[in-house]
Symmetry: C2
Subunit: 183 residues, 2 copies
């Protein structure tokens, strides 16, 4: 998002390095207000029901028609765990208890931090929502591995199932690199 006008006074912006700073910022030419752009936090979870996990088929871009885990932007005033549960409810109508941290991803090329939790559905109630055309439980072998919306979700699921197979869960931080341009 480019900042063309000052959100404080409506004045025109210029690019510059503020005194004592070392990054280029958008600075208001009129009131001097400095606008900072920072990474956003995405929170989500792997909702478990027995040996199955809940996934949703996206009804919105990006990744429309592909499968994913419930996840979305953390809101002001919210804990990461509450945000992950809220997104799960919004996207799957499923209620979860967050049971622990699973994977944290740096995705610097899109200015995101992605926090994925392990979770347990509190009941077998779920279903389609405005954001998801289908909401479905899958065993590991049933997951549509070739039709997953985001590489960060693919990686989360692969790691989750290999840890489950091994019999213990861990927390790790990973960095996702920018995909290579198609050639």
């Amino acid at each position: 998002m480019e900042i063309k006008f000052c959100s404080n006074c409506g004045g025109n912006m210029k690019q510059g390095i503020p005194h004592g700073d070392d990054h280029m910022r958008a600075i208001c030419t009129q009131c001097g207000f400095i606008h900072y752009l920072n990474p956003k936090v995405v929170v989500g979870c792997i909702p478990q029901w027995g040996d199955k996990i809940l996934m949703c088929k996206r009804n919105i871009e990006p990744g429309k028609g592909k499968w994913t885990l419930p996840a979305g932007y953390l809101e002001n005033g919210e804990t990461m765990e509450a945000g992950a549960a809220r997104e799960t409810l919004e996207e799957t109508r499923g209620m979860v208890n967050i049971t622990g941290p699973c994977r944290l991803f740096n995705i610097p090329h899109v200015n995101q931090i992605y926090m994925m939790f392990r979770a347990e559905l509190t009941s077998r109630e779920f279903g389609p929502t405005p954001e998801s055309t289908h909401v479905q439980l899958f065993q590991k072998e049933e997951i549509p591995w070739d039709n997953i919306a985001f590489s960060v979700i693919h990686k989360t699921l692969k790691d989750f199932f290999s840890e489950k197979h091994r019999g213990s869960h861990s927390f790790e931080i990973k960095t996702m690199e920018a995909p290579l341009p198609h050639g």
Copy 2:
């Protein structure tokens, strides 16, 4: 930060719930642009040198004159580990290797996520900076426990030293509640 003018067109803003959303947002009355405000990520570390840790005395508000660990806002395009190392260099002139995650804090009342790593200084070189009047190595008993700038830093240090005493480090997520008003 209140959004008074649209950063896209300079128009006046109104508060409302966009279609398909469930939170109040600042919406432009002129071009319809929706402005989202999201939590910011703070990254920092506990720089270790033998059995000592490096702390800095703040030269800027908030907490001017009090001691802290190096930490600051994650920048766009940066991994959390790189951000924590950069903040350490900026605030202490010390170079660190990030060795692992320590504590992650939800601080919903100030819309922050605070990620603290364990780290090791790569040399004994460090010193004051524009942001820190003093930069100093402390053994556990020497830490100015009663003069620490932020409760999240106090908690990180307490947890770090009790885990060190126990002989193994873990990663945990905690939530810091708003401080009670002075009465």
